[in-house]
Symmetry: C2
Subunit: 474 residues, 2 copies
């Protein structure tokens, strides 16, 4: 294996992580900005990532009996007000339709920031017996939340997501559902995105508005900041009581349903970029990559080179997302382009290699080059892709593990925090959490299911309640 | 073949077509109403139809080089005002966001009724050379148009659709694109939905706001009313000039791009129902049916019946959307349910048939029953499905052809019209069209590419300009 010299194309990741990120999103044509601040355009190369995530989740959700539905974009203010915690959480950031053309509407309409109230109302009207349960509904849609600061994929005034809304006859079944979805999201991370997550319950302060328990998946970006990548909520009977979602059980008793909701969004794409990419540009793990392989003929004017390239393309196109680049540009320009675009494998076809019946294969994730006999290539490619995927996952996992510390004092906590990553500390509760946020900017990411590190809280000196993983977060 | 006696389940189609239609949509659980009038909930059985349409179109669009993107839900008022005809056409029905939480926005935002202005603005900023052309973008999304009267699938304040937006270097290429999409939609109708369309240009009055030419596909509902099922617009350089979408051609000259836009929506589901369904309920052609086959064991307590049913289910589940109904209900109740749901094939497994190694197969579209040897079933099913599909298409085509008349006088026109269906008449132009609409309620559906029926217009007595197909329409 030879290692290739790298060429600078985007702002350096170390010099300015924020600028590096938006540079990549724009230059690799994942997105473009629209005329309204905070709304982005998903270009083909960016949207394809979302389509691959959708396909993975749809296949898995279908296998476990979930059904896709589509609920409306809007609901009435009255409906919104039915669940108190929920409205308090979302009210400041909801967009409101109050007119059509030049006419005022008699009732203002809320654009969905999430759809618990819509599903709850539907369930209330249509569920009456245990025979109707469970309902395992999911929808893919856009939602609107008026965020103050926005960043492509990570935080926008509109984003795309899937939101699952299920109802169950028993608490246990609903809790199992909540947890099984967290497992599914972890599998998505591990199998498709090469993203390891830390995973656990949110604190009272950080949980979803209206939930009893929120489980969260948190990814660690290359710069040491955390990102909430997905959540699964056990809603208990909160919405069921506000909306009167009741059913008759086998003993003819009226019962409230137990409810869950859960979602992942286009944020995952942000995590994908911020974890794996580098100063050369994007760096996609192979199973989610919009283009998995690019074939570049080094001397396209040479007939054997051209014919071999075309033949190889035809051999592989059934099984891979592959592109044969015949543009009238230099190989060097093309190399640089597809490195920026994060294409996992590049097959270079040149006269010298062909004399040995070989081609050169470049791996984007570690910049290695290796020669392969053409005859073995078809067998080698799945092996290469699998190795790349696994190595990218392991690399991200190492980064995550190396950046997860413990603190026995508040001083130590602050020192760890300055270096980025997660810091675990045993705290007394919300008061400590608020003080930490105020003084360090770090937020409680999840509660760890581990023994207490210290018996008293280093911040408040009160009795420690639980161990919380803190981090600065996007 | 034996013919089965029918049972009344929904309002009769002949007695009250409108009530019959909404009855079916609600009772077969395709949709439910939401709390805001004009917005519907797509339930799993209804949404699956849309997913099947999406899959068919996505596969076909991808093969011809189209790329999926996602543009924002909103745009600024300023952007909306750039193309004069366009804003005039859509302005009265656009929903406006003017506040967030309790705060007023400094600039009101329009919720997309269609996205020409967004795509045009993006293209204007990002296209500069003939090398960038063509761009063949498509998006799947929701749009909002404040329709006064609404009807499930056919007309709603929010609907789901795909909208394609392409730009090209030459007029000819753009016109070819416009026409190739119409061919694709016809293929969708013929191959997936078993729906025949009449197809042609819209009149000046009926064309899309901002287009030079609109081609339309029109389906004929069972009640004799027409339905616009899809459109493909050649926009010329209208938007290119308003938005300054220019490129440098091979001779270094600045040129405006030639643009198209085109779409089909969830209306197609309305057409599917109104053309094929009957007094027993839904009646789906097999390739779009959410459930293609249902297996019903007649004596589920019998072991051989149960085992055979399960074995058959396992044999077929790889290739078909199939359901094995083991619910504790009578066969009769189940028959009636799946007829209401329009499942194309029902396989009844009973002891008597099994004694002959046979099962009974019921075809929903013609209520026929036929016995098959179990061993031949796997080979017979694709043949059955194809025959059902073709026969449903032919039946719809016959209905369309039988309800397409010509008129040489205005009197004759009115007589034909009263019986429903299309009436062709050669007219002088917009003035005649307006008068016809005013006096009969019929609108110009498409211009026919046929010789004039009469040399003068029966309505205005002026020289006839072209032959137009009229109908009352949804």
């Amino acid at each position: 294996m030879k290692t290739l010299k790298r060429v600078q194309k985007v702002t350096s990741r170390l010099a300015d992580f924020g600028k590096w990120y938006t540079d990549i999103c724009l230059k690799a044509e994942l997105i473009a900005y629209s005329d309204v601040k905070g709304f982005i355009i998903y270009l083909p190369y960016g949207y394809a990532l979302w389509e691959n995530i959708q396909k993975y989740l749809n296949d898995n959700l279908q296998k476990t009996g979930h059904q896709n539905v589509y609920f409306p974009l809007v609901f009435s203010e009255k409906l919104f007000q039915k669940e108190k915690d929920h409205i308090q959480g979302f009210s400041p950031e909801v967009a409101v339709i109050s007119s059509v053309g030049q006419r005022q509407l008699s009732e203002k309409l809320i654009i969905r920031p999430t759809s618990e109230v819509l599903f709850s109302q539907y369930y209330a009207k249509n569920i009456s017996s245990y025979r109707h349960l469970p309902k395992l509904y999911n929808q893919w849609c856009n939602v609107v939340r008026w965020e103050k600061t926005t960043k492509p994929f990570l935080r926008g005034k509109e984003f795309l997501w899937q939101e699952g809304h299920t109802i169950h006859a028993t608490e246990q079944e609903a809790i199992n559902q909540t947890l099984s979805i967290i497992k599914l999201y972890q599998k998505l991370g591990k199998e498709l995105l090469a993203l390891p997550f830390v995973c656990g319950r949110k604190t009272e302060k950080e949980k979803f508005a209206g939930a009893l328990v929120t489980y969260s998946l948190e990814a660690l970006m290359y710069d040491g900041q955390a990102l909430q990548a997905g959540t699964s909520h056990y809603l208990g009977t909160n919405f069921a009581k506000s909306f009167q979602i009741q059913f008759q059980d086998k003993d003819l008793q009226k019962q409230y349903v137990h409810q869950t909701s859960w979602g992942v969004s286009t944020r995952l794409i942000g995590a994908l970029i911020m974890v794996h990419s580098d100063d050369e540009g994007l760096n996609f793990p192979p199973y989610v990559a919009p283009m998995q392989i690019v074939i570049i003929p080094l001397q396209p004017q040479d007939k054997l080179v051209r014919v071999t390239a075309k033949k190889l393309f035809d051999t592989l196109k059934e099984n891979y997302r592959i592109h044969l680049d015949l543009q009238d540009k230099t190989p060097g320009w093309k190399f640089s382009q597809y490195e920026l675009k994060g294409v996992p494998l590049r097959i270079e076809i040149g006269k010298r290699d062909l004399a040995q019946d070989e081609v050169t294969v470049f791996q984007r994730y570690n910049f290695s080059k290796q020669n392969f006999k053409i005859t073995t290539l078809k067998q080698q490619i799945p092996v290469l892709l699998k190795t790349i995927h696994n190595n990218m996952y392991e690399r991200a996992l190492k980064h995550l593990e190396a950046n997860q510390k413990q603190a026995t004092t508040y001083e130590k906590f602050k020192q760890h925090l300055q270096k980025g990553g997660y810091v675990a500390m045993s705290i007394a509760g919300t008061e400590a959490e608020l003080q930490i946020k105020e003084e360090t900017g770090a937020t409680a990411r999840i509660i760890l299911d581990t023994p207490l590190i210290t018996t008293s809280c280093p911040v408040t000196n009160q009795k420690a309640l639980h161990t919380v993983l803190f981090a600065k977060a996007y």
